[in-house]
Subunit: 449 residues, 2 copies
């Protein structure tokens, strides 16, 4: 036999078993998005390179998958042939859903109603070096509202986080911070120009501890005096509101810092009144990588499984500015489907029904039996039961093995005895238990997964 075919490194096939679990996650998330009035959007896999380039930094530009311009010269071409083409690529695969969303909003600004609420669940592609948990093709699952500065939008996104993870059965904590507070901290300690250095360093607080963060800040050029002023901020304790109260003394001199504190007070006030059933924690060391956030930032971590953040996002004030449309503020979050999948597998949170594509298999014992069985099969399907018949008549053992391998929970047997009695044998494949059900009543029987 020829060598087995393979797929490009960093890509994946999703088997039926995996797909059913993934669809369960996506359907749950979509259901919540819909309840909040978010509507679906899809953009093409390919964007013009002019749309993509320069949006993700130099490193990001290198990680774009680029598509050859013409379909007919790419393979086995000679150097001379290649040389004839001055521009070999003008299109690339999307790198995330955010830039295509911004492009869409700008392109269709006159058709859209603002605030514009959309969700988008599509794959993205990155030419990253593949490694465990990092793929070259993976789904993103984004929800954003653009065209309003209202903090109610942040509240809604937090509620969405609550509902999604409650529905999936994952216990989580939501960590929050605010870019304006991070600016304020930098201002308050006299290093407004070193905001990025400071956030990068304090982002590591959890991992490397306070002393190492202080050492790094010294290396990055801060004075000991500034670091001494920073320390009490990093050591704030108490409830979120208590932290904000103390912070408002420490950042009193920073206008932007006080703005950030005010935003967070408003937000936490909403969350208290709405009785959000979700631990929400102000974490001043939370920075998130992306530069475009300008207000609240979010990160969700699973409480019972260590895997990094499974959801995150924030407020951005100028996402569409890169395409020439200024002044549209938005806020969004993104659910990490692959990590959520891993958490749910590890904690065994998928309901049994998710693993069950067929509820009932009719064995096929010959043409008379098949003729008797087909109307029953049709009735079951009419009743919405996922059912099938083994397509060929043959040995019972083989057909039972098929049911086992497919994890089909019920097998209906109609052989010569059953034909004579008018009652089918229904076998529960988990318990091995068998019962007789008259042909007429089969479509009303319960075949739960």
């Amino acid at each position: 036999m020829a060598q087995k075919p393979t797929i490009p490194k960093g890509t994946r096939d999703f088997s039926p078993a995996e797909m059913m679990r993934r669809q369960y996650i996506f359907d749950t998330i979509k259901g919540v998005f819909r309840t909040y009035g978010f509507a679906p959007l899809e953009t093409p896999a390919m964007e013009n390179l002019s749309t993509l380039l320069g949006k993700y930094g130099d490193e990001g530009d290198k990680l774009l998958f680029k598509i050859l311009n013409s379909g007919d010269y790419a393979v086995g071409l000679t150097d001379d042939e290649v040389r004839r083409f001055s521009k070999i690529s003008e299109k690339g695969l999307r790198y995330d859903l955010t830039v295509p969303f911004a492009r869409y909003v700008v392109q269709h600004q006159n058709e859209l109603s603002f605030p514009f609420k959309r969700y988008q669940i599509q794959p993205v592609w990155r030419a990253d070096r593949p490694q465990k948990g990092r793929y070259r093709e993976f789904y993103q699952c984004d929800v954003d509202v653009i065209g309003t500065r209202s903090l109610l939008c942040e509240v809604e996104l937090i509620e969405i986080v609550e509902r999604v993870f409650r529905a999936l059965g994952i216990r989580v904590v939501l960590k929050m911070n605010n870019r304006k507070i991070l600016c304020g901290i930098a201002e308050a300690i006299g290093y407004a120009d070193k905001m990025m250095d400071i956030t990068v360093a304090i982002d590591k607080l959890d991992k490397i501890g306070l002393d190492n963060v202080k050492a790094e800040l010294l290396e990055r050029g801060l004075t000991q005096d500034a670091i001494d002023r920073l320390q009490p901020i990093l050591e704030l304790t108490g409830s979120n509101m208590q932290k904000l109260d103390k912070l408002s003394t420490l950042l009193a001199g920073s206008e932007v810092g006080m703005l950030g504190i005010e935003e967070m007070r408003t937000l936490f006030g909403y969350l208290d009144r709405e009785r959000i059933d979700l631990p929400v924690e102000l974490d001043l060391s939370l920075a998130r990588g992306l530069n475009y956030y300008t207000g609240a930032i979010f990160e969700v971590k699973a409480l019972d499984f260590a895997i990094g953040s499974i959801c995150g996002g924030g407020r951005y004030d100028d996402l569409t500015g890169i395409f020439g449309l200024k002044g549209l503020s938005g806020v969004g979050i993104s659910f990490g489907a692959d990590r959520i999948y891993d958490v749910m597998c590890a904690l065994e949170l998928f309901p049994a029904s998710v693993n069950c594509s067929t509820q009932v298999l009719f064995v096929n014992l010959g043409s008379d039996e098949e003729t008797a069985v087909l109307p029953m099969l049709r009735d079951l399907r009419d009743a919405g039961v996922a059912a099938e018949i083994y397509p060929e008549s043959g040995k019972m053992k083989k057909q039972m093995e098929y049911a086992n391998r497919r994890a089909i929970p019920y097998v209906v047997i109609v052989g010569s005895e059953e034909l004579a009695s008018g009652a089918a044998t229904v076998k529960n494949m988990q318990t091995g238990e068998q019962r007789q059900v008259s042909f007429d009543e089969l479509s009303e029987a319960v075949f739960s997964c």
Copy 2:
């Protein structure tokens, strides 16, 4: 302002309104697939070029979108730079779902249970010249069972066609033929070697008429005598079974032809017993383009809108042979989502609820009103109603316009009067009718789209 960004020609954005209609089609189709025990599969967008090349003919090879190997040299590269890369592309975007499916089955043959029943709904990419109704990115929606020769599979696919189009409200006719009968016809008239020429010519019967088909057959090298023997076959009338009876006399000398007739008799026998509620028509001029079909072939046409076939497929005996796994027979059909979408738009078959992403908008008239309204909003969402609040307080007119543009059917107004009376004003945006509903009872009110 900068020039508005665009997307590559031949690609599309799907707006929320389009997406909701598309999801309705896909969800309907998926629901039927599931009832028949088909499970979902997804394969990566990129396949190795070695998997794709040579599978679609020379023309197809040219229409593959090829991906540059490395992320970092594609744009603005000099001739010298390009010359350094001897192989610039090893990956391509999938051209259909059939070849990736065959690749998957061969790659995972030892993990799969045969017969293997899968459906797959994913985009494909073709570097075709874009024109009306032809796109460079479009979804295919395939359902196949592989690993059995049982004609019950054909019957199930026909039932799936029946159920899908009944659920969508599209009246259709299913045209069927059999590649073995086409071989038999070629044999019977003495041109077994010209089967392709003959089928290509008679495929045009509907369009160009019998006389022109005969002229074309002469041009393609058939003798007048052979054409005279072909004519009665093309002029067969009567029921499907009657046509098969007459055909079995005409093709009596062809073993393969008689096999095809027997298959179709068995199939039509099943369809009669199963009382399929779908016009099914044996059409001997039906050929379908793809070369790999070896048995029954299908094509579905809408009865009330002229748009070509909206679904098609057939039996193939050696799909996985291209990857070295011989002897696996399968059968499948593919639903044309874009055409189904066009038919449903033209005939206005989408239910009103499909156009409605938000059922209820709460207007926002200030902070006291907002505070009163938020618990009601939460209760409605708990009850599964898609609801939202206008995120900023402001003029009623602007908020009502937003509801109108978003096609939100109900608006709930809570202003100072309503706060005093404890009853919200609920406005039906279609009829303009208003009623009062007490705050407590709002979550039980009906907000149908």
